[in-house]
Symmetry: C2
Subunit: 374 residues, 2 copies
Amino acid sequence: MSERVARAALSRLSEPGDVRLGVLVGRLGANRVYELLREEQDVAGVYTDVAARLRGLEPEREIERAAAEGIRFVCPEDDEWPRALDDLDRAEPLQDRGCRPLGLWVKGERRLDEACRRAAAVVGSRSATTYGAGVASDIAACLADKQMTVVSGAAFGIDQAAHRGSLAARGLTVAVLACGVDRAYPSAHRNLLDYISDTGLVVSELPPGCAPTRVRFLSRNRLIAALGQGTVVVEAAVRSGALNTANWATRLHRVLMGVPGPVTSAPSQGVHELIRSRGAALVTRGEDVLELLSPSGSFLGEVPRAPVLVTDRLSDRERQVLDAVPRLRPAGTDSIARTAGVAARDVSVVMQRLHSLRLVENTTAGWRRSEPPE
Amino acid sequence: MSERVARAALSRLSEPGDVRLGVLVGRLGANRVYELLREEQDVAGVYTDVAARLRGLEPEREIERAAAEGIRFVCPEDDEWPRALDDLDRAEPLQDRGCRPLGLWVKGERRLDEACRRAAAVVGSRSATTYGAGVASDIAACLADKQMTVVSGAAFGIDQAAHRGSLAARGLTVAVLACGVDRAYPSAHRNLLDYISDTGLVVSELPPGCAPTRVRFLSRNRLIAALGQGTVVVEAAVRSGALNTANWATRLHRVLMGVPGPVTSAPSQGVHELIRSRGAALVTRGEDVLELLSPSGSFLGEVPRAPVLVTDRLSDRERQVLDAVPRLRPAGTDSIARTAGVAARDVSVVMQRLHSLRLVENTTAGWRRSEPPE
């Protein structure tokens, strides 16, 4: 039996990210581990757990059936395997779960490694606000526009907005599910998922047919964090699963980013906490994300600045004189000098400069402010 | 002539924060500097600038007239002088402006040093949003509630909201003006300023009668930053004067804080930039400000957390089993073990624990989820 088939078998037998199994496979190879399990050898207690699932398992047929539905099983041995996922074996596991997946079931024509070469995870609350959804969508569209893939979880709220933002900008987007890629969860996202697999990729470490469970959602989050070079959290209430993804981003040494919001908005609380205490970078636009995820200096977003006004270039002293020039009734140099607290002879020099900048005008009765030219 | 009278005279002659004059006074004393100016000695070019203002100056009478209006002139030699202002002479000046004030004209009965012993500056845009004004007011009220003085500039928008928030909580608030303390700027704030001077303090380094100018606003900002142990910027568009105050807070090694807002809101842009690039701490509540400004560990705000649920305390394995228990049609241990991918004998043990936590119920047909107790 090939490693691929053995890995597919093990992915059906075990729960995602099982560290015991991951270590065994790393040491003995998937084929040997599967063999041991079929011989009912209880290595590390794995057999006891998976025994009930072993009966009737037909991994070859499962791979064939998936292929008929346009689903392939991508293994670490494949060229298409995103090496970013290998970081999971270098990060410390959470309890006994969190290693590199045995393989990924993938739906969609793009190569997974290429799709994730430049990728950012954009995640957040299912109970997003209009504000949060709008910002997530804008950021995703901006990333798409610069050929950066948006990775998310296809959930309601922020995930959905992120996928849609990318799709609307004709971008590449990857949905990572906590169930089989043939299933739609939530079912209302059937069309969205179809659209994503048509133009991008839908992936899961769970074989087709598997249902989502809470533990699987948590395991799934590590893949979202691992596939992106960084994770953007848009809105996350204090119990949001997005904070779990953020946690994984940090463990995986990915760039963690947060979009702030009103301090009065519960869905922004978790993000503010990430920025305050967990070192998340504050981002407000897709450009900020691109700047943080691009090699140093290769993408520089513009710092939001108001246009420089003529008056910005004045020295303190010139400013002081200008302040003393009346707006309505003109005044002489002496009067201006007195008001400004600047020597009269200096005022004459400064007035010439202000005049050349068209900030003041000379009337027969003296100097007066003029509106700066636009 | 006393130093006090000489300082009052110089404060009338010069513009706020004039470094040339500040250095001279530090070296020779105010009395000697004033004497030199009256002898028309042009030390450091100061005479040339102030000559026009020297004529007719009567500092003693000016102090008397101010006293009749309930305004006193507080000098660095006075017990009441807030030593925090001396930091201005240790900070690097901006161009040729920014030293410690010659003195402060003060209206209100409280001692200035005591009022500023525990103080935070709360500043922001004049064109504040309802959101920003609400947050500024809430933060100020919270600070007032913990006996922390709120320092601000009595401008429209955030300043006003901060003063009002403090007043509403019967707190002590200090307004620092860019004009004489007998004047109301903006004039719509006449009542507000009266209320502040009745219960707190209105201060300015400009003598009574002086009009506000742009340069004076900028000089004033350094006093706001210096009088607080920290500066909270609530909303600040990219050209807001509040960013100048923030700049001074940093130069003076005060704690700089920013309140985030919607990324789509222009008045929050400047604050986000402060948090992102200028090291401002993100704060969302008065408690955050108190925590940052109080001696380490003496004030600890609660981190916003959702209540811990029974299910939060489950191990991954217990969680995995619970996920496999049906919500409607009960199932036996073997079926649950198969769904969970956990050994049947372990499932029996876990079910007992889940049952004791009232997460599952035992029916004649097997196990079923029960709603967790509230």
